[in-house]
Symmetry: C2
Subunit: 387 residues, 2 copies
Amino acid sequence: MNQFIIKSEVETPWGIARTGCLSTQHGDIQTPVFMPVATQGTVKSMSPQEVWDIGYRMILVNAYHLYLRPGPSLVSESGGLHTFMSWPGAVLSDSGGFQIFSLNDLAKVTEEGVSFKSHIDGSAQFLTPETVIETQLELGSDILMPLDHCITSNASHSELLEALERTNRWFERSLKQHRGRKGQLFGIVQGGLFEDLRTKSVEFLAASDLPGFAIGGLGVGESKAQMHEALDLVTKQLPQEKPRYLMGIGSPEDFVNCVCRGVDMFDCVLPTRVARNGALFTRFGRVDIHQSQYKNHWNPISNTCLCYTCSNFSLGYIHHLFKSREILGLRLATIHNLHFIHQLMDDLRLAIDNGNVEEFAMEFLAAYKPTNEEMRLQAKDRILRDN
Amino acid sequence: MNQFIIKSEVETPWGIARTGCLSTQHGDIQTPVFMPVATQGTVKSMSPQEVWDIGYRMILVNAYHLYLRPGPSLVSESGGLHTFMSWPGAVLSDSGGFQIFSLNDLAKVTEEGVSFKSHIDGSAQFLTPETVIETQLELGSDILMPLDHCITSNASHSELLEALERTNRWFERSLKQHRGRKGQLFGIVQGGLFEDLRTKSVEFLAASDLPGFAIGGLGVGESKAQMHEALDLVTKQLPQEKPRYLMGIGSPEDFVNCVCRGVDMFDCVLPTRVARNGALFTRFGRVDIHQSQYKNHWNPISNTCLCYTCSNFSLGYIHHLFKSREILGLRLATIHNLHFIHQLMDDLRLAIDNGNVEEFAMEFLAAYKPTNEEMRLQAKDRILRDN
């Protein structure tokens, strides 16, 4: 059975954009899709009903975080993650490879697995490709990610090669552990910014008949141009009929740029994280709700936005909530940003199906003022630490 | 026009309990009623839609807090508080007398008014009975409270007498300032625990044809027995046909005890505040969700509760959210506690109308284990500081 069906494909100046449908045990997902991040089993500040009401049908959780707390056996005992967190849609679980290495300066890699100290209580932990698959099976994930050895993208060629080869050996063990079990196990393309390593990684993974491919190791400090270059290389080489999931990206302009390059799936804490910092998405860029200019603005964030926030509250009220450090401020900002991204994905799908995604992208990118590079890297650094 | 109509009256061993209907510019309110507290223009952690969906039709805001931030002229410019915070129901605003004196050790009282430093930015502030009425008119409150001089209930007779006489003079100025303007101005009965002072206060206020009477200066450190004694005295003397609002009380057992003594209206931060501390109301007392015994409980807080929290989430999940310091934990706990209190008020009204409120109260109080006195006073202290 083919779990991914492509609906439309459109050539753009940057690659081939496409729409599709990804079938999971918990429903069909229209792609391109953004998955809100529920690191610890909740999309921060949101109820699952609110996430659903915006229109999301798939979220991402982090196996690393849930492994440490509350623990996979407990989640399994409760009836699985969908029951535990009352989420009727699909769940993709990240393996946590990225988090283990970014949250733990002292993580130690051996061929068997990785040992590290829990960021919660300092306890000694040891994870292997096999235990990471078992964790995700206990969670009941619809899409599973293998444990990978993540190192910074500006590491040397030999370091990246070594990490990639280990990631590949670990992937074979993951595949073996998962065979005949539930859910779809994706492969993760690594290799930093080196063309030969990315090619090597794709060729290795493409040899197995995988349900989908994640693209890892991007959005970790390189420039946007470098990210696009690596992405272009990988999407050209990956099997066209399988979904491509770009991990941990990103911002509104990233979604437009990368959908046009053939990416089908995204996750990122950015839309929810910056919301809690008071940054609200508009078609023209981010609004910083803390600015005193908003204290007496009685219009919504956007006059055309149909989200709960924009339907009921003014910029002035949201400004007051942030100044007063009220939880409702974080909620209203998060609802708006998640709605904005959901609407953007809807618009992109429609534009692809209508054959005018190039025009849509040009118009969007012309109007949208991205956050400057320095602020972007600072934000990335905070995201690494917090999620 | 009579703005309060009594529906049923039932004698109980503790007084005369009654149901009624209070008419406001923003709808009719069934009494006895609990008003959730939206100190800064939001019921902490809740959206106004959620408060409404539980069944609440009236909330309380604090004129002192909103005077300091965002300021009454700004709220007025936005279309009034109902528009500002997107609340279609009724609003009672507290004058903030209590907060001025409890949050400001250095508040200075003169005959003209009270000077103090803002707890937000330390700026010098001066409020008079007249400015406090104007603030509440700018907010657009349905029910207004006059500025009163609040001192601790264990102050001496002469101190309490002096504060009471000033409160009375201030009330005359408030009444004059409000005459012919919008909303209902209640009087506030003061006098600490002294019978002659409470009587003096009631007699003074009853001489004016007021739409309702608040009972202040209780729940501020005295024992429950002392509070009941003062309450019994006051409710016997107040005009029977007018609503009585017991300010800043309280806990589930307080509502039962005080409704049976003839109280019609309540507000308190306790149900929402203790929720955010992880204390969840049940018919048998509070559950502390932090306790490790709940980590693998897969039932809801209450099997018979119909709130969003109990309809969708287990104790084990809420425990995980609190352990992980996730905002959704605070939200689910608050929804449950507000639902519990709303249901309790519904039950009390029904029992009064059916003539069996004594039986209901006995049964409730027999099953409900109150929090012990020491914890109660500690909690009260925290509430004073935080709201």
